[in-house]
């Protein structure tokens, strides 16, 4: 990680865009600071006490000048806003085909799991050039996933998924930090992101013992928690079947509200259906689902279940 300690490495597709906005901002800063400095120094020298400089007819106010220095900063501000907003929009719009890695943050570590089932702690291996989306959740307090070389940062919240995406553009090892103060060992909640050549990455994925893909692990959890008892084909209590649900529209009702709303069965919906099952009930079913809190089903396991439900959704729609 040896580099000149005055500018960070650019290792993602965002980095150049963000740096461009930053350098433009620094340029504006340098210009105005220099302008003010030169003006002040000139005046200080020229009009210091005792000089014979001409001092008559000094203006006390001037609408034109005031409008000038209202107008110019206004134009620059709107320009800077528009430019940075466009880049920001891209930072928060992951491509649909991005490779999905799960992040579970807790005091004081990042736990990551790849769709192929590989798990890591405080380290993230990613293939070069492939857009990667992180689906993140915290088990306790607010953390923040931050990779300076990618110019990417997103708070990781408890109870809610947030996401972050980037496309690595350079092979190497980069710092990974928790950027949101999260308690005693916040300082050491850090790690490394390693960008690898795709071939190396495939080799790395295949190495070590793997318990099968995330969806496969999710299926095992599905059986372990007897989810199939209600949601499976041989259901003894009526519960909505889960095949083909993921990504579709689900009719839900809320108690006291006679209308039925259609909502998308996304990660949030499945997460909340496990954690707060009384909130959104599929139309036509009784609210029988028990609540699973973190002690019964960790956030990491819940992500595996989601992967499983997503996989059976995909099978269904592909048939």
């Amino acid at each position: 990680m040896a580099h000149l300690p005055f500018f960070p490495e650019q290792a993602s597709s965002h980095a150049k865009d963000v740096d461009a906005v930053f350098l433009a901002g620094m340029g504006i800063l340098a210009f105005f600071t220099a302008l003010i400095l030169i003006l002040i120094v000139t005046f200080l020298v020229r009009y210091r006490r005792g000089t014979t400089a001409e001092r008559d007819n000094a203006p006390n106010t001037s609408l034109r000048i005031e409008l000038l220095w209202i107008g110019i900063p206004l134009i620059i501000s709107i320009g800077m806003f528009a430019w940075s907003a466009v880049v920001y929009y891209r930072l928060y719009s992951p491509p649909a085909d991005a490779y999905l890695v799960d992040v579970v943050a807790k005091q004081w570590m990042f736990y990551l799991q790849h769709p192929e089932g590989k798990r890591e702690i405080n380290e993230l291996h990613v293939p070069l050039g492939r857009p990667l989306r992180l689906r993140m959740i915290s088990q306790d307090v607010i953390h923040s996933f931050y990779v300076p070389a990618f110019r990417a940062k997103q708070d990781v919240l408890p109870g809610r998924y947030t996401s972050l995406w980037f496309q690595p553009t350079r092979v190497g090892q980069y710092h990974l930090f928790c950027a949101e103060y999260c308690g005693t060992n916040h300082a050491v909640m850090r790690g490394t992101v390693e960008v690898m050549e795709p071939a190396d990455y495939e080799r790395w994925l295949g190495s070590g013992s793997s318990e099968g893909s995330l969806a496969r692990q999710g299926e095992q959890l599905f059986q372990k928690h007897h989810c199939g008892g209600c949601h499976g084909p041989s259901q003894n209590v009526p519960a909505p079947p889960l095949q083909g649900v993921y990504g579709g529209r689900v009719p839900v009702t809320r108690e006291g509200d006679p209308s039925t709303n259609f909502i998308t069965a996304d990660d949030r919906y499945i997460h909340d259906s496990v954690r707060l099952p009384k909130k959104e009930i599929v139309a036509g079913f009784e609210p029988m689902m028990p609540t699973y809190d973190q002690t019964e089903l960790s956030e990491a396991d819940l992500l595996k279940l989601i992967a499983y439900i997503k996989s059976i959704g995909a099978e269904e729609t592909s048939k």
């Binding site: 809320r254 108690e255 006291g256 509200d257 009384k278 609210p287």
Partner: protein
């Protein structure tokens, strides 16, 4: 009371003011700014309430049903009437009718105390039913909603509690002013004091006018 006597009773002008008008204006403006602060003080709670009512709508409805709507309604009537008597007290002060002023202030105090009494009764009822948030909280009516109902009750106790603290201060203020007016012959300063206290009292009333429908009547006005 003779004119001379009244002149002798001119209110004390604090030495840093030029005249009584300036003193009066300052007190009035100060009270309005204080009320603006108070509005934002309650505003934080109203904001939290609004957010959670949206997030946990049905739980709030269910929790709200456990409140004593009748007691709340009586209290609303009591407090609104007290505002009327307070307004009459201000009028009496302006007309320099000292006897009526004292009578209206006394009635206002009584109404304030009645409100607090009914509120205390409600709270003790809530307490017995285990609705006070914390380790004793139980929500047997719909156990599956207990968590969110607890948020409702926390907000309920914070909002009504804060309101009650304000009302206690209000009663103390009215009592002090009444005592002042009873001890002294009527003086113009009494008029100021009554007016300031009136502003504060009406503010407490207005807060309750928002609290009552928001907390008690969720189920009714949707």
């Amino acid at each position: 009371m003779s004119t001379t006597h009244e002149l002798l009773q001119e209110p004390p002008l604090a030495e840093h003011f030029d005249d009584l008008e300036q003193q009066h204006l300052s007190a009035q403006l100060g009270m309005w700014i204080f009320l603006a602060t108070e509005a934002l003080f309650f505003g934080g709670l109203f904001c939290a309430y609004t957010v959670y009512r949206r997030m946990h709508w049905i739980e709030f409805v269910v929790a709200s049903r456990e409140l004593n709507v009748a007691a709340g309604a009586i209290n609303t009537a009591v407090l609104l009437t007290s505002s009327l008597t307070m307004a009459l007290a201000v009028r009496a002060a302006k007309l320099r009718e000292r006897r009526w002023l004292l009578i209206y202030l006394a009635i206002t105090i009584v109404f304030g105390a009645v409100f607090l009494g009914i509120k205390a009764f409600e709270w003790s009822e809530d307490y017995e039913r285990g609705l006070v948030p914390g380790s004793l909280f139980t929500f047997p009516f719909r156990p599956e909603f207990a968590g969110f109902a607890e948020i409702f009750f926390l907000l309920y106790f914070l909002m009504t509690g804060l309101h009650a603290i304000h009302l206690i201060i209000g009663i103390a203020l009215v009592a002090t002013v009444a005592g002042f007016c009873a001890r002294h012959q009527y003086v113009a300063q009494g008029e100021n004091l009554v007016e300031m206290t009136g502003l504060y009292w009406h503010f407490i009333d207005v807060i309750w006018v928002f609290l009552y429908p928001l907390l008690y009547l969720i189920d009714v006005h949707r």
